[in-house]
Amino acid sequence: MSAMLLKKEKWPEFVEKLAGKNIWAPQAEGDAMRFAPVAEGEAPALDYNNTRVPPKGALFPQTETMFKFQPEGAQVDEPQLEQETVVLGLRPCDARAMAIVEKLFKWDIDDPYYTRRRELTTLVGLACNEPGMNCFCPSVGGGPASTEGLDLLMADLGENYLLEAVTKKGEALLTETKDLLDEAGVDAVKEKEKLVGEAEQKIKRTVDTEGVPEGLPGLWEDPLWQKVSASCLGCGTCTYLCPTCHCFDIQDETEGLAARRCRMWDSCMFDEYTMHTSGHNPRPTRRERTRNRISHKYSYYVDKFDVIACVGCGRCTNLCPVNIDIIETIRQVKEAL
């Protein structure tokens, strides 16, 4: 793994070098940061904590056109994905989430949309020096400088960014931009490790997941679900903003006589998520839905892919309008075990 240094003042040039590619980076919209395509000639600022909306849309768009069609024997048109994309500045937790989600999209059959996008995308992460108040990535197998899921990791060393390639794609990106880069010495890497260590120290909140994946199914009828879900509004904030939530719905939409089939994010917290045509809903209340959300992340996914589908980014807890706190919920689960 090669490590390079990029002087901060060269950051705009670095971004410029990538011209021709679709660049995704955090964009400020008031205090609501989100990942979005960067306009040409703009260098994204990287001094942010984390975006409200995770970057998962770069690989798994909120709405994706699968194909277009016209009724009654007209043509069907499948969009071809060709555009190379670089996602800049995603946090290690979000990158880890992509690695976790990829397990599903590449499970028994490859999901062509996700796979193709991942092929075309280079993920450039940014290590966290200042974790947020509800961050708990170390508790769930991550860390402020985790490289899992990334092609390249950047770290903010004050004057410089340290760039470490994780994959060949990352290497390629370094090659592409080598004119702007300097070889990084051992000191730089040590400096990064020091910062990461400090960052880990700053993470105050923790979750103890021991026994949780095995224990959760046994809590099916536990009163804790009623308690946790009583105040739930049934909105999609926690799931839409969760980097590992990947549920989607497929619908046909019409525009006059033309139509398209598209898939779009769905949320298991919505009542119609499990609604049957008959009107029967096997998850009739927020209690079952909340139970499912937690169980899916902390038990079912572990069962299937051997990893907790929560990366400890803290978004659901930060943004839940009624303070449903996943850290607290897991604590209650532990207690009930």
Binding site: E29, M133, Q251, R286, P321
Partner: protein
Amino acid sequence: MKMDLEQLRKTAAEVAAREEVKYLVGWKQGTYGYRVAPAFVEDAAGAAELIFSPLCTANLATYLTLAEQLPVPRGGEPDDRKVALMVKGCDSRAVTQLLVEKGIERDEVVVIGCPCPGVVDAALLAEKYPETEEPAEMKWDGENFLLIRGGEETKIARNEILAEKCRLCRYPNPVVSDIMLGEEVETWDLAEDEGVQELENRDVDGRAEYWAEQFDKCVRCYSCRNVCPLCYCQDCILDRLNPTWVNRSVNFSENTAFNIARAFHLAGRCIECGECERVCPANIPLGKLNRKLAREVRDKYDFEPGVDPDAEPFQASFKPDDPEDFIL
């Protein structure tokens, strides 16, 4: 204003213990930082955790209609016990409006009124006094708010962090209640609705540009709808596929349609509790839409929702002399 917590908890304990009461919904300290969480109190003991503070922004009236109505097992009886609810002035208007719309019946609810000197805008507070994981307390202290955390007290001028809805509040005292806690507060001088006025002063393209940016951010999580005490259709038309009013796909067109439809459905119904804007993860200033309509309803139609339980619903009534200067 002095909030007597003891009195609050004592009253709540008494109400929650009543046989006719299923549970009482109030506020409790949240799990971290400035958070306050809704509390569902089923017995007297549970009342000990209740609070009422400048951080109690949430309008709990939404829980009157949020609970799913489950099938009653054969031979069983539906649980028709009352729900007790703690309300601020604005929240109480939601209760009144629900009475108008028959969303609830008066005898299904026990309303505990909490006269409210105004709550804080937690986001603004966090911006000026960064939030930490440590749970913080807050109190009213005359013209100030008192922030208490880590044993330290910080005085913050009221106007610095007062929520926008409170700056414009005309009903700090509950308009409906069974039990009133504490003394009525005096109403205060109203601020101008600068957010709305600033937009009104733009030309139509300027407004289009502004809202395009806002609606583009919408992730369609439906938290604005779900938190709204007056959005309580079991089957929202914006979820429906036949007919499709709004496609489920997330893009500027559908997001705009969604937001227009949501705001319009609240025309003459919105009681300006500001919850939609507070919960929006994309920080869309939804309150401006609602307040604009609420003001038009007030100014042009001389109507105010949620103040008179016997009022005719705005959209289901008319006056022969309603304005028609826009009609050709």
